[in-house]
Symmetry: C2
Subunit: 258 residues, 2 copies
Amino acid sequence: MAENYGGSGRSGILSVVGTGPGAADYLSPAALQELMRADVIIGYRTYLDLIADIIKDKEIVASSMMQEVDRVNKAFDLAEQGKHVALVSGGDPGIYAMAGLVYEVSQRRSDSTEIRVFAGIAALNSCAERLGAPLMHDFATVSLSDLLTPWEIIEKRIRAAVEADFVLVLYNPRSKKRDWQLGKVLEIVAEGRGRETVVGMVHAATREDEKVIVTTVEQFDPQEVDMQTLVIIGNSTTYIHNQKMITPRGYRDKYQLA
Amino acid sequence: MAENYGGSGRSGILSVVGTGPGAADYLSPAALQELMRADVIIGYRTYLDLIADIIKDKEIVASSMMQEVDRVNKAFDLAEQGKHVALVSGGDPGIYAMAGLVYEVSQRRSDSTEIRVFAGIAALNSCAERLGAPLMHDFATVSLSDLLTPWEIIEKRIRAAVEADFVLVLYNPRSKKRDWQLGKVLEIVAEGRGRETVVGMVHAATREDEKVIVTTVEQFDPQEVDMQTLVIIGNSTTYIHNQKMITPRGYRDKYQLA
């Protein structure tokens, strides 16, 4: 890690810590230990609530979902004062989450604070666990949020993934304001792969209000989906058995199962 | 979970437990507790060695990498005797690993043993953590192993992913017997995305012999890569800063960083 040249005597540290899907027993010991070592915990209130017992003796800076850049700058401000700051990220900070923004802001500020990243069990891992075994073969992960990416690029990727028979993992599948994109994706899948294609969704994996659905494109109701939901669409070989979504390991019938 | 109708009085359980990248502090408490509850631990010797301290009082069935189907059938045999069996999988059993084979064998055997899956921190999570923040935007995950999938399908997917500007995550990138496929992928990337495209690799993440390289397609040497290595190839916007591989969060310059 880089040396520090901060103004204060003591060097600060900015750790980006993944807390996993929600349940405390999905938090890695490495992440837990880093939270214990930190002076300040900063994060979106929902994620902080999930680890409330662990961080109850710490200085807490809670912020709302809409202030990500401010939150990261605040974390650097505190680290530059010599503090060990833990910036909390739900799931894995390395997948569509805070790790990248921290490196980008560090570069923009020409900041020399030591940055540490602690991977977590991401939404795609925990939702795959809940659904069965959908990710046994190649998959494409696409965020349907068009806030920072034009819809044309998103749709192009969906079409490419469907055409090349990737399993599709959809992050940010639907929000109150973005209510048509998921329907459009399902249409593209129905055209390219058929209406019998298997679809699974998990809302709030490992949490009290967890909800799991395994069905087909034809039967799937996008209304069930919100921002706390991950959607996984099977490839051409994915099937349902005992309510589980299973993607075989290969296309060749090379392996004997018994 | 399904009820059990095994021959023995006591119902068996088959748990597929992800042990993460290797270091003990990346093993989730949920997975650890399940290992403690199990009567028998079964798995590939390398993964068992990594958790030797945890499982030292258990009945152990170690097997070699080449006997996956036998191993799963052995696990079901033991569960049918009423035992609680933990089948250990490195990384996350839900990503190209043992979860799918367990469901497939269960179906083939018409077995009613209760199956539990415990997600882990997968190679893609731990390697992204080591490399910086390469997975901040859409990514396609492709296994280069052509044991069960024809090379034509693999190459088609690589071309589709490059064309649609996905970050590319390569599982099973190279082995002694499969030594040309990674070079071919790098050629396709160079043609479609340019020789300056960023490439990262992590060998044996979190373990003693960990090795991290962040470079470009032009400079990258496939000889550095073996079966313990994950390779991540950036999209058209991925850059290197302070030896870290960073993919920006979006294509639109909509966000102010300070």
